[in-house]
Point group: C2
Chain length 368, copies 2
């Protein structure tokens, strides 16, 4: 029974990224039961650390037991009712997905389309409906490498309408660029562990404001993602915990360790490390004669999209990078599948040596 | 930033169990991307190995990205429509849960209640409705330690009615006792990795017969568990794969390794190892003067329920076992929370030394 090949990949695509060493070590630590007092301490501490990284005091801040997309599902399942008007700013694949998921839960979805590569336009989203129940957008579009201004969006929504909830997809932003849930006024947000948090895929950090919590669906169609039930296990503040599903203990221990690493380095320092790595990559790609895809001024440092030069076989280059250099970069998405590459510098990969590695290999492969 | 304590627990409760060493090693192996050719090979091989363990040739056999309960959710979300009559044999917590989950997806649930500790009665389940869309039961009730005869149930259902689908919860049975999906005629089944499969919690192995697949819900309310979408990523047989969500690569590598270990030992040998360990435990508990809870003739070897002797503080004993001996056993569930203990010998724990460990410690603690 052959095992998986033990190959060292530099995971410089749109995720997963290479985990922080602390996260890998914790994955293989002796397993604890999901009701073990020591594990419950680690779980509480993980939620507390997540609050710091999210910039929130939300009591309901926890890791959901699934990969990042399960956060999106939980958001709509618990906070959108059939017939609710949900305005979605769509500027890439994950905005598209929001439309799909919200629709499945019966929401009356108003989509506001943007060109891919552009950020969400606050004015257009605001004008799309006078009284939505929810306004949703992606902070860092993984499909295009674009940052949208969630702070401006949330402030504008709340300034006009005290009722609308603001939902932000922070899968590729959390622990990479600034996210400040409470100060921005975001009501519901989710992320994934396999991007800037520097953990293997398998958990979706999630946070809910009190005002959103008061308006939650009391019995959502999904049992597994019913936050009422999950909260009864995760929240030990009242002294009692009710078993829901068996928590993915190894993954949570790994997230706990990675969050410890991030907070020890300091959130600002982590953001600066991502900013510096991204800037260096953007400059280096320019020096290779390559053109960036995302709109200037809205480019993510942690995920860079770059146009494939005319006449270059996009898939071939990725294959050579993988097989000859052990570097994974991503293809584009949708209409840009073969005309764009996506290069990630997330979490533990946001370091100068990773930038030089991918630039050097690209220079060789492209003969630039 | 303190880490999790590195303590060696003997996880002899209802799960998680201590993983096979191969599973732990694979968790910490260098991470691969979810589209890496080597990872896709491992994923295909994982599905092939799962088919052997399930005893099925079902093309749709795959690990779902969540803990065991997500398998239950996926089963009802993809195969029960609003108004469908679903008969559920309820003889413990997980049968209760099926009633809850099926109801959320709009099924017309007919529950057939049994005393906890008893197996599901095939005749009563059959008589509950003349033409159900689905008949569901738990193979190994984790709450009571009881095995129900899924083979007899499935044969009886199909003998009467070609239309009804048979759904079996195999969370605590797969890779511990015989499970034979195709020979039994089970249409939909799910399991969890943290029991007899000997992997950390985080994945739900799932299998679907062709006849069930033909009757699947085309657009279930859940996006994350829409098997149409997941299948497009997992099934590489047509040469193409469509990204759905980022697969939990480390967990899948770990499952792959544990399945390799199980199949190398041989499924029959693994079952025999569980049987022998369970028998030894049952006998030893009797020698300690303790009374087993589950009905005789229907006791699981991998999960034993035992009555707490009169005058003994159930929680205190569990605490002493944990703090002084590093042994985790489980409390009872529901009405039996403080009157029953649950002792698991699952996967890597189904060994003589684990039996002696828990018997010896119990003898000391109870002064028996």
């Amino acid at each position: 029974m052959p095992g998986m090949a033990l190959v060292d990949r530099a995971l410089l695509g749109p995720g997963p990224s290479n985990p922080y060493p602390e996260a890998t070590a914790a994955l293989a630590a002796p397993l604890l039961g999901h009701l073990d007092p020591e594990f419950l301490r680690v779980l509480d501490e993980t939620c507390a650390r997540l609050r710091r990284v999210w910039g929130t005091e939300n009591a309901r801040t926890l890791p959901l037991s699934g990969t990042g997309s399960i956060g999106m599902e939980a958001a709509f399942a618990n906070f959108a009712r059939p017939g609710d008007v949900v305005v979605v700013g769509v500027n890439g694949l994950f905005g598209e997905r929001m439309v799909d998921v919200a629709g499945r839960y019966g929401a009356d979805v108003v989509r506001v389309d943007h060109d891919w590569g552009q950020p969400v336009d606050v004015r257009r989203v605001l004008d799309a409906h006078p009284e939505p129940s929810m306004v949703a957008a992606v902070h860092a579009e993984t499909s295009t490498g674009v940052r949208s201004d969630i702070k401006a969006l949330a402030h504008a929504v709340h300034a006009r309408d005290q009722r609308a909830l603001v939902l932000a997809d922070c899968v590729t932003s959390l622990a990479g660029i600034e996210v400040d849930i409470d100060a921005w006024g975001v009501d519901v947000a989710y992320s994934g562990t396999q991007k800037c948090l520097g953990v293997a895929p398998g958990l979706a950090p999630f946070t809910v404001s009190d005002r959103a919590w008061d308006r939650r669906v009391q019995r959502p169609p999904t049992w597994y993602l019913d936050l009422n039930l999950i909260g009864a296990y995760v929240d030990g503040s009242s002294g009692g915990r009710t078993y829901h599903h068996t928590a993915p203990v190894a993954m949570i221990a790994s997230l706990h360790a990675a969050l410890g690493r991030v907070l020890e380095e300091g959130l600002e320092a982590v953001h600066e490390r991502h900013r510096a790595a991204g800037q260096r990559l953007h400059e280096g790609l320019g020096e290779l004669g390559l053109e960036l895809f995302a709109a200037e001024g809205h480019r993510l440092p942690e995920l860079t999209t770059v146009r494939v030069p005319d006449g270059v076989d996009s898939a071939k280059v990725r294959q050579v990078l993988l097989t000859e250099y052990g570097i994974e970069i991503g293809a584009g998405v949708g209409a840009f599948a073969s005309s764009v590459w996506r290069i990630g510098l997330m979490g533990h990969n946001a370091r100068p040596e990773r930038v030089e590695l991918v630039l050097g290999a690209l220079r060789r492969v492209l003969g630039a």
